[in-house]
């Protein structure tokens, strides 16, 4: 179990409604990364996606367990974060842990907790089938259009966890 040091690497607070936010040039000096999002989708039922190392190939597999309770699988060109509409116009929390992100000998696993008080919540396990170290993490909504964006004031912070 890594020491939970939560050393801040970078943070951003969105000045306006935004489709995508990225952290690039991530230092390789930690064992794990934790990405914390506190915010909301601006109007509609968007969900979130994660892209690693700007790779939009068919390399992502996700299992979702949500409050239904239900569980389902997704795969494609992005890692799915959450049930549709999970943070629609609701202050919400998303905590993603990227385990062993700096290794080059294994594919990458991402654990995500997401939810709000009155819409939806759940847990996802994401798999990225590439072994390169993670140096860029992008979070975006599933539709680049007004009403489906991360709202102004949404904060994303990336922490390093010492191993």
């Amino acid at each position: 179990m890594p020491t939970p040091t939560y050393i801040p690497i970078a943070t951003t607070t969105l000045a306006s409604a935004t489709y995508s936010a990225s952290f690039s040039g991530i230092t390789q000096s930690y064992r794990d990364l934790v990405l914390v999002l506190s915010g909301k989708c601006d109007v509609n039922a968007a969900t979130l996606q994660m892209i690693l190392n700007n790779n939009t190939g068919y390399n992502y597999y996700t299992v979702v367990f949500d409050q239904g309770p239900s569980s389902y699988q997704d795969e494609g060109n992005y890692m799915r974060i959450g049930t549709a509409g999970w943070w629609t116009n609701q202050q919400a929390t998303m905590i993603a842990t990227l385990n062993d992100y700096s290794t080059t000998d294994r594919t990458k696993q991402v654990l995500v907790r997401y939810g709000s008080g009155t819409t939806k919540m759940g847990f996802t396990l994401g798999h990225y089938n590439q072994s390169a170290a993670i140096s860029t993490v992008t979070v975006r909504t599933d539709y680049n259009g007004a009403g489906y964006l991360m709202a102004a004031g949404t904060t994303l912070t990336l922490y390093g966890i010492a191993g």
Binding site: T5, I7, R113, G115, G117, M121, G122, G153, Y159
Partner: protein
């Protein structure tokens, strides 16, 4: 190191009805509570209060028992299984509250397990909201029964700004 211990409360002999932290500084970014509790009787619910308020809470949850899963919603401040499973089976839980000092409603996540090396146990995931824009300066956990001796809760802060 941005994660700092603010305080730890350990329940003494005779148990306690509540565990509270007050005077939380508003200078940090997130709060994390590390929770290990056990109930004095059969009710493992915990009532959560922020700034002395037990109203304006809402939440959703999923839990598994080892043989079934259930999900649902609540419109109060009651959080299941956070107080453990029995007088000798303590919970292992984390409460994460991001942006606790911001001027928005407060969203938080609670993850709890109460494994007891038996066929029935609990894993609960909660997603909650306190619909209040005030900075959180105190947190109280109130037992549905009471917390047994050696129940312990630690409060940490996390800051998104690197220290010099």
């Amino acid at each position: 190191m941005s994660m700092k211990l603010i305080g730890t409360v350990t329940v003494g002999a005779g148990g306690a009805a509540t565990i509270a932290f007050s005077g939380i500084p508003s200078t940090e970014t997130d709060l994390v509570l590390s929770v290990s509790l056990a109930p004095s009787a059969g009710n493992n619910n915990v009532l959560l209060s922020f700034n002395g308020s037990s109203t304006s809470f809402s939440s959703q949850y999923i839990y598994g028992t080892g043989s079934a899963t259930t999900g649902g919603t609540r419109s109060d401040n009651v959080f299941g299984a956070l107080a453990g499973l029995s007088t000798t089976v303590f919970s292992n839980a984390q409460i994460y509250i991001p942006n606790y000092a911001g001027a928005t409603n407060k969203s938080f996540a609670i993850d709890t397990v109460t494994e007891n090396n038996a066929t029935v146990s609990f894993q609960w995931l909660h997603s909650g909201q306190w619909s209040n824009t005030a900075a959180i300066n105190s947190i109280t956990l109130t037992a549905a029964d009471s917390f047994v001796q050696n129940s312990v809760v630690s409060l940490y802060t996390i800051n998104k700004v690197a220290s010099a």
